[in-house]
Subunit: 462 residues, 2 copies
C-alpha cells in the first residue's frame, strides 16, 4: 500500500510513543535526590496533568511522597482526577488542606464529583470544605444521583438559549457571558420550562448569518440522556451515535446538565477494562496496589476455581480402576480438558463482547447458538482426527485413538454450546455475563471432557 | 447514596436501553413478508444509520438481501461505515452502482477511506468510480498512507486561518464559506508554510469580541499528530489528553488533515476488542461470520493449544509408573494444572492491560515483577494449606497432602512470574503481548505444575 515517496519519509516510530520517557522519570528522581527545585520544575512544567499523574503512579510510594512535598503549591487540580484510586487516596493524604483548596478551585463540577464519590466521610468533608459555596452546592446535588449514573457524569455548566433568538443574539450573549465553559460544543435550545427542544453545534452557528433564527438551524432529533441512565448505556449511546455532547434531562424532561465526550470515553474505557478483567477472574485492581491487597483481590476467583476443579477431580475418581488398568489415560486427560477449556473460552469471549456491544440480541440469538454449536462440532471433528492419530502413534493402540477422538468431538461440541448458552443465561438472569462465565464454562468442559473420555475408555478399552 | 426524592422517581430501566427493539426487527421482517413498503419506511425512517446497520447485521443473510432490495434508493451512505466487514461486503455486493454512487456522495473522506481500504481491486474501483473527481483524488491520497496510520483516520476537510486575523474576520470567513465541515470543533491557525502554530476551540472564538486577534486566544501548546503515527498511539493520545480534535502533520510539519474524536473512539474500541479477543486466542471475527469461516479462524489457536497440551502430557508420561502405583495422583492432577493456569491468566491479563495503557513501563517494571511474584507466593501458601487438607481428608494420606501443598506453592509462584515476565518479554521483542501470552503462560504452568506434583510424589510417596 505504501508508495515510494512514503517509504522514503518513514520516520522513527519511537518518536511517536506517548509513554512517559524513562529518562524523564530518572531525571525527576535525580532532581529530588539533589533537592534541585529549579530542575524539577523545569521537568514537570511542560507535562500535561495526565502525564504528571502517570509519573506519580509509576514511582515508588516513598518517591511519591517526596515528589508531592516538592511540588507543593504547584500541584494542579487537573492531576487529581487522572490518578487511579489507590494512588489518589495516598496523594490526597499527603496534600495540605490549603493547597488542596487552591488546586481544586478551577475543576469542573463533574471532575470534583468523580474525585470525591468514592471517599469516606471525613475525606469527603475535607474536600467539600475546600470548595466555594456555589460549587459545593452543585457537587452535592450531583452526589444525590446514584453511583455510575448519568447524573454523576454530567457537568452542570451548560449554555442554553430560547428558540426565538437569532444567531446574532446568541453570539452577543456568549460574548457578554464571563464564565462560559471552555470548551463546549453545542448550544442547547430550551423551551420556557427548561425542556431541551434542539441542539446546535457551534460550528453551525459560526457558519450562519446573524438574522438566522436558532429554531431554523437546530437539530430537533437530538438524543437526550435520562439523568438516571447507567453510565454503560451512556457510553454506548456516545459510541453508537458518534455524539460529542448530549443534554441530560430529569424525569420531567427538564435540562439538568450536559455530558461531554471526554466523560463518555472514560466510561467506555472503564467498561472495556471491566469485561477484560472479569473474564480473567479479576476485580478492579490497579498496578499500584500493594502485595497484600492484590493477593486478597485475586483470592476469591482462585477459590471458586479450586472448588470447580475438585468437582472435575471427583469425576475422575469415579474411574480410578480404569486408570489403574490403563495409565495412558492419565497421561492424556489434560489434553482433553485443555482443548475443551480453550474452545469454550473462545466462544465465551465472543459472546461476552457481542452482548456488551449489543450485537447479540433476541433477533439473532438462535442463529448464533446454532453457529457456535456447529463450529464446536467442526473443530471437534478436525481435532478428533489429529488427536486420534497422536494417541494411536504414541501408545500403539487403535482403540485408545478412537476413544480420544470421540471424547474430543463430545468435548468441543459441549464447549461451544456452554460457551454461548452460559453467558446468555447470565445476561437473561440480570447478571454480568463476564463475571462468572469463565468458572461455569471450564467446569462444564472439564466435567464433560473427563466423563466422556474415561466413560468411553471404560466401555471400549476394558 | 440515593435520597428519597430520587427513589420515588426511579424510572423503568428497560426504557433506557439502546439495543435494537426485537419488536422493531419483527416489524421490519413482517413488512418485508407482506411487501408493505410504506410500513417499512415508517419503521426505518426514524432510525440512526448506526441502528440500520445493526438491523442489517442481526437479520439472516436471506433477510438482509430482501431488506437491501426493499430499501433501494433510500440507502443512506452513513449506514455503510457502520457495518462490520463481512456484512458490509455482502451489502455492497447487493447494491446497484448508481444507488451506491448516490449514497456515498455525502460521506466525509475519512469514512470513504475506511470503507474501501480493505476492498479488493475490482470492488475498490467500482467504489472510487462512484465518487466525484475531487473526492476521489482526496481518497486516493489518503490510501497512500499505511494501513492503521493517522493518515488513514484523518479528514481532509479542515478550517484554517492565519494568526493575524481577528475574531471578526474569522467569523465572516466562516459565514461566507459554503462547504464548512459539520460539525467541527477547532480552528487551526497556520503560518504561510501551512504549519500549524495554534488551535482555537470554537467556543473560545464565540466568547471573544470581534477585534481580538486569533494569535492572542489560540492554544500554542496543542498536540499535532504525525501522519504516519499508528492508530493505537493516536487513540491513546486522544484518551490521555482528552482531545476532541487534533491537527495531523506531515514530516515537514505541514498540516495535512484533522482527526476528530469519533474516529479516535473507533480506534480505541478496536484496540480494546483486539486485546480481549487475542487473550482468548481469537482473531478479528464477527458475529455475522459464517460457520466455516469461524471454524477456520478458531483453528490455529486450538492447534497451538493441542501442541502445548501434548507437551504437558509428555511430562506426565515420564511418571507413568508413579501414577500406576498411586492412582490418586491422576485424580488430583487437574487441580494443580487448573489453579496454575488461572493464577497465570490473572497476572497475564493485568500485565497486558497495563502495557496497553502504558501504566507498566521501565520505571515500575521491577516493582511490578516483584509484586506479582509475592502475590503468587502468597496465594500459593494459602491454597497449599487448603488443598493439603483436602488431599489428606479425601485420600487419608498425610504425605499426599504435603505433596499437593508443595506443588501448589511452586505452581502459583511460577504462574505469577510467568504471567508477568512472558508479556513483558513479548513487548520487548516487539510482539503484541496479548497475542501469544496465553499459550506460553498455560504451557509453563502446566509443565511446571505436573513436574512439581509428580516429581515430589515420586520422591516423597514412593
Amino acid at each position: 500500500m505504501t508508495d515510494a515517496s512514503l517509504t522514503a519519509q518513514t520516520i522513527d516510530r519511537s518518536d511517536e510513543d506517548y509513554a512517559l520517557d524513562p529518562a524523564l522519570i530518572d531525571g525527576v528522581l535525580f532532581a529530588l535526590d539533589t533537592s534541585d527545585k529549579t530542575g524539577l520544575q523545569h521537568l514537570l512544567d511542560p507535562l500535561h496533568a495526565a502525564d504528571v499523574a502517570d509519573l506519580l503512579e509509576q514511582v515508588s510510594s516513598a518517591d511519591r511522597e517526596r515528589l508531592i512535598r516538592a511540588i507543593g503549591r504547584d500541584l494542579e487540580g487537573e492531576t487529581l482526577p487522572e490518578l487511579e484510586e489507590s494512588v489518589r487516596d495516598e496523594v490526597l493524604g499527603l496534600v495540605d488542606d490549603d493547597i488542596l483548596a487552591e488546586a481544586v478551585k478551577d475543576l469542573d463540577s463533574d471532575d470534583v464529583v468523580y474525585l470525591i464519590e468514592d471517599m469516606d466521610g471525613p475525606a469527603r468533608a475535607k474536600f467539600l470544605n475546600a470548595l466555594e459555596d456555589e460549587d459545593r452546592f452543585i457537587v452535592q446535588q450531583s452526589l444525590n444521583y446514584p453511583d455510575e449514573s448519568a447524573g454523576r457524569m454530567m457537568k452542570r455548566e451548560v449554555v442554553t438559549a430560547p428558540p426565538f433568538w437569532n444567531v446574532g443574539q446568541m453570539i452577543d450573549f456568549m460574548r457578554d457571558a464571563d464564565d462560559l465553559p471552555d470548551p463546549f460544543y453545542d448550544v442547547i435550545v430550551t423551551d420556557p420550562m427548561m425542556k431541551p427542544v434542539g441542539t446546535i453545534p457551534l460550528s453551525r452557528i459560526m457558519g450562519a448569518r446573524r438574522p438566522v433564527l436558532l429554531s431554523d438551524i437546530m437539530d430537533k432529533d437530538f438524543r437526550a440522556i435520562p439523568v438516571l441512565q447507567d453510565e454503560e448505556e451512556v457510553a454506548y449511546a456516545f459510541s453508537q451515535y458518534h455524539l460529542v455532547s448530549a443534554p441530560v434531562i430529569d424525569d420531567d424532561g427538564r435540562l439538568v446538565g450536559v455530558i461531554t465526550i471526554d466523560d463518555a470515553v472514560e466510561a467506555m474505557e472503564e467498561e472495556a477494562e471491566e469485561d477484560l478483567l472479569r473474564l480473567a477472574g479479576l476485580g478492579d485492581e490497579s498496578l499500584a496496589d500493594k502485595v497484600w491487597r492484590t493477593t486478597r483481590k485475586r483470592f476469591p476467583w482462585l477459590g471458586v476455581n479450586l472448588v470447580t476443579s475438585i468437582l472435575a477431580s471427583i469425576v475422575i475418581s469415579q474411574f480410578e480402576d480404569v486408570i489403574a488398568a490403563y495409565v495412558a489415560l492419565a497421561v492424556l486427560l489434560p489434553i482433553v480438558a485443555s482443548m475443551g477449556g480453550n474452545a469454550g473460552t473462545q466462544t465465551l469471549t465472543v459472546a461476552v463482547r457481542a452482548l456488551a456491544t449489543k450485537d447479540l440480541t433476541a433477533a439473532n440469538m438462535w442463529r448464533v447458538i446454532l453457529r457456535e454449536t456447529l463450529v464446536g462440532l467442526g473443530n471437534g471433528l478436525v481435532f478428533a482426527v489429529l488427536i486420534g492419530v497422536v494417541g494411536y502413534v504414541w501408545f500403539g493402540d487403535v482403540l485408545l485413538g478412537v476413544v480420544l477422538a470421540l471424547a474430543m468431538v463430545a468435548n468441543l461440541l459441549v464447549a461451544g454450546m456452554a460457551g454461548i448458552l452460559i453467558p446468555l443465561g447470565l445476561e437473561k438472569a440480570g447478571a454480568d455475563p463476564a463475571l462468572a462465565s469463565g468458572a461455569f464454562v471450564t467446569t462444564v468442559t472439564d466435567v464433560v471432557g473427563f466423563f466422556a473420555f474415561l466413560g468411553l475408555a471404560a466401555t471400549i478399552l476394558i
